[in-house]
């Protein structure tokens, strides 16, 4: 077990650039450790999944995704969440998963371990109930801590409900912000990935997220754009996209057309692209956003940096509504999540599709180098 806190992700050294906290030490030591302690290695190649708000669809999509993994799921994952709720759901959905309560310390048995660092939750809870919201929050923290200690190879987070968590009295902006804080960094960005039915990928990093149009121009800074470009470059490297060509969108129609329709391309976006290029990042832009996504799908670029939420989300949801994945870049560990929310309205009805969760797990696995 990695409880000594010094385990290694299998491909950690390759995945993360120098200077990040995820890995350290020489390859000899790493080799010795793997040889010496098979048990340590056995746990830290698992992917942790925080099951999210139990009154939402998080547990359902998690278990369904596990069931689709087949028998191999038991040894490869750790579910962080409430055992009772998962066991009941397992029964209700007829999945027959070998769930096993884990104490967080000793070697897990042959079943799929479920770990709850807190109290067991009551069986019946109203949508968005405070105990469910608080527990969902704590499970994210637990999975992140184990990732930071190197006890998990990656984490996947099922949806929590922001409003419910805030209502329960916890200061909370979002899972990404929480994880950034736990990891002690503010240099993070989200990459959203989607695949269309012809297997063509769209990978988008947003320079800004939930900002109204009115406030956006003042919130869009060179720093945010440079960070997004840098993160897009990092993501391409981690995904093994050697060419790593990054398209940076303009903000205005036709990318402002030389300042005739807005000047942010000249004052902010252009200089940000230049800065990123000076760092060696193969970024191009600002490009007119309207035709760009057609070229991206054609394969001209590997990733896109979008200036605002809908600029990136509209194309993504058009091509991969069911299979979208979010990936947090800049953390010292791997974290992915499905791109949907708690969907209280369909929770507990066996209606939720696990495809986005499956994609999130698949990506986490790919990034962790766990090709099991």
């Amino acid at each position: 077990m990695g409880r000594d806190g010094t385990g290694w992700g299998r491909n950690g050294l390759e995945l993360f650039p120098q200077g990040q906290r995820y890995c350290g030490g020489g390859s000899v030591l790493r080799f010795l450790r793997l040889e010496w302690s098979g048990k340590v290695w056995g746990m830290n190649r698992r992917i942790g999944i925080s099951i999210g708000d139990v009154t939402g669809i998080g547990p359902e999509v998690t278990l369904k995704a596990m069931a689709l993994e087949g028998a191999s799921c038991a040894g490869n994952y750790l579910l962080v969440g409430d055992f009772g709720h998962l066991a009941a759901l397992n029964q209700q959905l007829g999945l027959g998963l070998p769930l096993e309560m884990w104490d967080g310390v000793v070697e897990p048995g042959i079943g799929l371990p479920v770990f709850n660092p807190g109290e067991a939750l009551p069986a019946s809870l109203a949508p968005g109930a405070a105990p469910a919201a608080v527990a969902a929050h704590d499970w994210v923290v637990e999975a992140a801590r184990r990732c930071l200690k190197g006890e998990l190879a990656a984490m996947v987070t099922a949806p929590v409900n922001k409003e419910a968590i805030v209502r329960a009295g916890i200061r909370f902006v979002g899972q990404t912000e929480l994880l950034s804080e736990l990891a002690g960094t503010d240099q993070t960005a989200m990459m959203l990935l989607g695949e269309d039915d012809r297997g063509r990928w769209l990978r988008v990093v947003l320079a800004t997220t939930h900002v109204s149009i009115k406030l956006l121009p003042e919130r869009l800074t060179q720093e945010k754009i440079v960070l997004a470009i840098r993160m897009a470059g990092l993501a391409c490297r981690q995904l093994g996209l050697a060419r790593g060509r990054i398209a940076v969108c303009g903000l205005n129609p036709h990318a402002g057309e030389g300042g005739e329709m807005g000047t942010e391309e000249i004052t902010t976006i252009g200089p940000a692209v230049e800065r990123a290029r000076a760092e060696g990042c193969p970024a191009e832009g600002p490009l007119s956003a309207d035709a760009l996504f057609y070229y991206v799908l054609r394969g001209d670029y590997d990733a896109v940096v979008a200036m605002y939420h809908d600029q990136g989300l509209v194309p993504l949801k058009m091509i991969g509504f069911e299979t979208g994945v979010n990936w947090t870049l800049g953390l010292p560990f791997i974290r992915t999540s499905p791109d949907h929310g708690t969907a209280y309205n369909i929770a507990g009805q066996n209606k939720a599709s696990p495809s986005s969760m499956q994609s999130a797990i698949r990506l986490a696995r790919q990034l962790a180098g766990n090709k099991f």
């Binding site: 997220t209 939930h210 900002v211 109204s212 149009i213 009115k214 406030l215 956006l216 121009p217 903000l251 205005n252 129609p253 036709h254 402002g256 057309e257 005739e260 329709m261 807005g262 000047t263 942010e264 956003a289 309207d290 035709a291 996504f293 057609y294 799908l297 605002y308 939420h309 809908d310 600029q311 989300l313 509209v314 194309p315 993504l316 949801k317 058009m318 091509i319 509504f321």
Partner: protein, 339 residues
């Protein structure tokens, strides 16, 4: 009105792909079945097109004065509007002469439409830089047509068989968008879109109206909500006027396959909100049209493609769609006029 509408085609920038695709259209059976095309262009240039094997011989060329003196509906003709020094024109080159010529075709076609000599105008691609060099300062066709016809309300619509979008605002900076919105302006766009789609589909169209902000504002969670102030009231008023309108829709969910099937057209608040989904689904094959003008106007949805100009490689599909769309709008307008 005639059985077939008379449609003016403008040749666009002479150095682009406009001339060759227009000439293809003049000889296309489908086009001739649907309308009587009248090409506003340059006789010398078209001769050169024929010499280069980019066009078949044109039946008839008339001068502008001759065209204006027609008292009966014309046959398919080319109207010689300019006196280009055709040997000096290089394909793929921006020049003030070409900019001036392109503008002149537009100007004359608009006059013909206002004088009811033609039932609509279908425009070929122009080059903004060339127009500027020629001293014509408009950001695009939409603005030229609005100005020259004195339209009180107009909007840009992009039409294709996969997706149709109308824009409440077009060629303005992103930061100016919220300040330009009003219930009236959004309602105008909804009405114009519904009217055009009614002509196209011959039934009551279903119009989806997008929100402005991420997640359609989520009830003001991200700040001042234009959704509640302008968009929702415009949708309510549109419904009161008998339009099947729905909104404000969450923009990132509005264009997914499932939702797209529920609407015949979308009203979008700003340029890229409509252009991004449209170009993903109908790249270079759509029709661009200006609604709300006293005349019918449609256009190709691509540029001058200088890189392949005069090589016989240009695809006239978008022009054919634009002609088809103009013909349908003209038929719709004629039908409404008789009521």
């Amino acid at each position: 009105m005639n059985a077939k509408p008379i449609l003016a085609l403008t040749m666009g920038d002479p150095a682009g792909i406009g001339p060759e695709i227009c000439m293809r259209a003049m000889g296309d059976r489908g086009v001739l079945d649907e309308c009587v095309p009248v090409l506003f262009g340059d006789a010398g240039l078209l001769r050169r097109m024929v010499e280069k094997g980019l066009a078949a011989k044109v039946e008839r060329v008339v001068s502008l004065a001759e065209f204006n003196s027609f008292t009966t509906p014309p046959p398919p003709v080319v109207v010689d509007c300019t006196d280009l020094d055709v040997d000096k024109i290089e394909p793929g080159k921006v020049s003030p002469a070409c900019g001036r010529a392109a503008y002149s075709y537009i100007e004359h076609s608009i006059r013909a439409a206002i004088a009811r000599k033609v039932d609509g105008v279908v425009t070929g691609p122009i080059h903004k830089e060339a127009l500027r060099l020629a001293g014509v300062n408009f950001p695009g066709h939409t603005e030229i047509f609005s100005e020259l016809t004195g339209a009180k309300r107009s909007c840009m619509m992009l039409y294709s068989d996969k997706i149709t979008v109308s824009m409440v605002t077009t060629h303005i900076g992103y930061h100016e968008v919220p300040g330009q919105l009003s219930v009236e302006r959004i309602l105008n766009t909804i009405e114009l879109t519904a009217e055009a789609m009614q002509s196209m589909l011959c039934r009551v169209p279903r119009i989806g109206v997008c929100g402005l902000n991420p997640h359609a504002g989520e009830h003001g969670l991200f700040g001042q909500s234009e959704e509640e102030e302008f968009i929702a009231p415009a949708v309510i008023e549109a419904k009161r006027r008998g339009i099947n309108a729905t909104g404000p829709l969450v923009p990132d969910a509005a264009f997914t396959t499932g939702v797209r099937q529920k609407f015949d057209a979308f009203v979008c608040l700003y340029h890229d909100q409509g252009h991004i989904p449209f170009k993903m689904l109908a790249f270079d094959t759509g029709v661009n049209t200006t609604l709300g003008l006293p005349i019918i106007r449609t256009s190709v949805d691509h540029g001058t493609a200088f890189d392949i100009a005069w090589q016989g490689k240009a695809d006239p599909a978008s022009l054919y769609s634009a002609i088809h769309f103009a013909a349908r709008l003209a038929a719709g307008r004629a039908k409404n006029a008789t009521f």
